[in-house]
Symmetry: C2
Subunit: 502 residues, 2 copies
């Protein structure tokens, strides 16, 4: 009881009351955003994130006008909040709900985008800014600063991508751009460490070291996520938690998902990669071992937590954009600020273009079948959708513009292409999946493996050479059914369906 | 992306890595507690909270042995964490799942316990400690300190009560002791403010002021909770959220529940009272306006969040007990510490006994029907179950001992009495409640109104005098059906059932 009284006494002291003020404000604003976003969702130009951004801007304006620019007092939330509370549910839910077959089918291209593409962007932005910034008189930056700038601006932002692209409408683009965002988290951590540790001269030795540490980080992060996911499946299956309590099952899934993230952080791995793969494994095994009410609960709880976090982030970005204190930190005259901003914007555009078009070219070169190739219009959309980055910290104004424009662009560019590549089959397999009200999910996945051509029995080694992904998938299925499922459970390939009860 | 890198760079600096260490440790420990608690739950002497306490003690021992007593570095969690994150879900869930009829039937007794009982305890502990502590040479305490000590130690701890008493087994005791804990939060806030503001001499004037501010705080906190709950019901009903998205409904319920708590904190009201009544209103109205999958999700999500918070708190108390830094703060020789501790323990025991037996005597005096009277054995259980207090902050060692002993005590004391007062009727009303797999909940509530005697039509004013609670309930039902439900929705009296799908 003394704690209660302590909190009362701290409330009475004005300085300590600030957290409660800002928590109340943010909770109220997020609630309002959800209601307004619901009312506006039929409007073409507005979605939940744009509503939240607009709300944040309006609130910040009101606060500035009423308190003479003391917005920093309200915005007490820091980076820890973002990394410890908001980001993990978003990425975990993305892994939990991702169309696994679509994702792994494009695994090689995703890695090309996430590694090679990011390195190309990094090179262009670092070298470009180093050359151009000299002309603006920014001589106090050293080589390390430019390399760090390149590393920061070369990676795409997964949270923005999730808001802008829709998994149902454009599954291929979604898995490419979102997958790239997940993979390049590892790339940027390695890049950043590399900048700090190695000499800046690129020698064959540093390239080897870089490749080695990337492979180390990537594989360890992935393995950690898979290990924690499998452990949760094994524990829940063996101890059969649901016999006693749904709450215990749900609590264990939430906690172990979060555990994978913080463990990765602790071991200086990529938490995003880890929690993403943990989500994939949990939806493939753990989710099938729990009771029906736990399935409904986990599916909606993860989606809800992710939804709240996303809304919160966009609201925060909107408020942050008007934080005068942060703008004052930018050194130099207004003219220099504009020049620097537009140079960076140009470099990001060029770097992204170079990376997307070259990786797409490589990928198309390796693919024979015309249906697997990435068309020019798709390349433009990937280029555009991946432009938004660092929304939360950099809070660059142009992010918002891009967000507004991407939805119509996707519609404009991809109408004919996407429809042809997403053939929906007759809903025949629903009897196999009692929980999946319509079999669309599985059916379309069965169709899309091998690019629309149904593969029943790949019987020769030629398969492995001509269609490596499908063949790997075939053997994986065999292994999964023979070894993994008897140990870890799991009923099928499908992700948790969109609405389990209807 | 820059934020990611920032977090990486902060991870590299050792001092900032501490939060990640402790978060990882706590998440891993809570997960382990849940698994071990599941395995041990058939054991008579162990429950989830005792497991968590034991775990905390063991972990603290290991940390002390390996790091030479630097446990304070790991325990970076502070009171804000407890009040902003852990307490709200526990109290809200208690309100959401409480047997409403049982609770309101005993509303007057609960308020007697929560107000009069707390004041009696407060008086005994304050005056007693002031008289006795002089003898131990503790002359540096002034009158205000003793009054604050009385206010701190006179209120019971709701979190402990929830763990020790079971709503299903002993509904009357549960609603009395838990309800008392909710109400006395308001009492203790008023007491604490009163100590700071008013003179310590008790005059008719200060009594009036105290009564006034208690009524103000109690009614405003309750009204705020009810208002936010009704608002959520109205918004969800009018805008029909479920048509589009279950996640939005669930997010809105979680956020508005939390909003009620932080708003109460902001207005210096009792957050516990507010969020408790918000939970009651949400389970009565809002919960009936949402889709079926949202119902399953909210019910289990609230229970899970509460479960995780409780486990975490007990784990934390276990670890906190071995925190050497805190023990060093206790001034004086070991002998004085023991004397002070045992004096306080004695005063708490006596104060609690005085308040429980006098309030029970008053309550029994007002009640004619022998079935409504609180028996001596029940009084002893109420006395005992309400002894645990301030678990988190005071971390008194005797809490744990009480926790261990209460479960068998309840079983010993209440076998005959409880069975007679909880008559279960034939499960006939299940057809009316498609979601309630067996109608036990409603049926037993129908039975228990008026103490086991079924009341169909109270037709005269005599009813109001002889059975005030039942009559108020009868008119409330009429009002609820005629006015409230058409506006705010709501399908029945029942709380969300224990397992909705089975």
């Amino acid at each position: 009881m003394s704690l209660k009284l302590d909190s009362v006494s701290t409330l009475l002291n004005e300085p300590d009351a600030a957290p409660v003020h800002s928590v109340t404000l943010f909770v109220a604003l997020v609630s309002a955003c959800i209601v307004i976003g619901h009312l506006l969702q039929k409007t073409r130009w507005m979605n939940q994130s744009v509503t939240a951004l607009a709300f944040g801007l309006c609130t910040a304006t009101v606060i500035i006008l009423t308190t003479n620019g003391k917005i920093s007092d309200i915005l007490l939330f820091d980076e820890d909040l973002f990394f410890i509370c908001l980001l993990p549910p978003i990425i975990f839910n993305a892994g939990f709900q991702v169309k696994k077959k679509q994702f792994f089918q494009n695994f090689i291209i995703i890695n090309l985008f996430g590694v090679v593409g990011t390195l190309i962007s990094f090179g262009i932005i670092s070298i470009g800014s180093a050359k151009l910034f000299m002309k603006f008189g920014l001589t106090f930056w050293d080589q390390g600063d430019f390399l760090a700038l390149g590393a920061i601006l070369s990676a795409t932002d997964t949270v923005c991508t999730l808001q802008v692209l829709n998994q149902e409408d454009t599954p291929l683009l979604y898995s490419l751009v979102f997958g790239e965002g997940v993979v390049n988290d590892a790339t940027s951590i390695v890049l950043f460490n590399a900048i700090q540790k190695f000499s800046v001269h690129v020698t064959p030795d540093t390239v080897m070291q870089f490749t080695g540490s990337f492979l180390y980080l990537f594989s360890l992060s992935t393995l950690l996520g898979i290990a924690v996911g499998l452990m949760s499946a094994y524990i829940i299956r063996k101890l059969y938690f649901g016999r006693h309590s749904t709450d215990r099952e749900v609590a264990l899934m939430i906690l172990m998902a979060y555990l994978s993230y913080v463990m990765a952080d602790l071991f200086q791995l990529s938490g995003i990669l880890t929690v993403f793969f943990c989500g994939i494994v949990m939806s493939h095994y753990t989710w099938h071992n729990i009771t029906e009410s736990s399935r409904v609960t986990t599916k909606h709880t993860f989606a809800t937590l992710s939804f709240i976090s996303e809304t919160f982030i966009f609201l925060y970005v909107g408020m942050d954009a008007l934080d005068m204190e942060k703008w004052k930190i930018v050194k130099g005259s207004p003219g220099t600020s504009v020049a620097v901003s537009s140079t960076l914007l140009g470099l990001v555009l060029v770097g992204r273009a170079a990376s997307v078009f070259s990786v797409s070219f490589l990928s198309n070169l390796a693919n024979d079948s015309p249906i697997d190739k990435i068309g020019f219009k798709q390349q433009v959309t990937i280029w555009w959708a991946g432009l938004m980055r660092g929304a939360v910290s950099v809070a660059l104004a142009y992010n918002k513009v891009f967000g507004l424009l991407t939805k119509p662009l996707v519609r404009l560019m991809l109408q004919p292409r996407e429809e042809s590549s997403e053939i929906s089959s007759p809903k025949s397999s629903s009897a196999l999946l009692p929980l999946l009200a319509n079999g669309q999910d599985l059916a379309s996945e069965l169709d899309s493996v091998g690019g629309g051509i149904s593969i029943r029995r790949p019987s020769s080694l030629t398969m492995l050479i001509t269609k490596p992904t499908s063949t790997v998938h075939y053997y994986w299925r065999k292994f999964d059914n023979a070894v993994m499922r008897p140990i870890f459970g799991g009923g099928g390939e499908e992700s948790p369906p969109n609405d389990i009860l209807h």
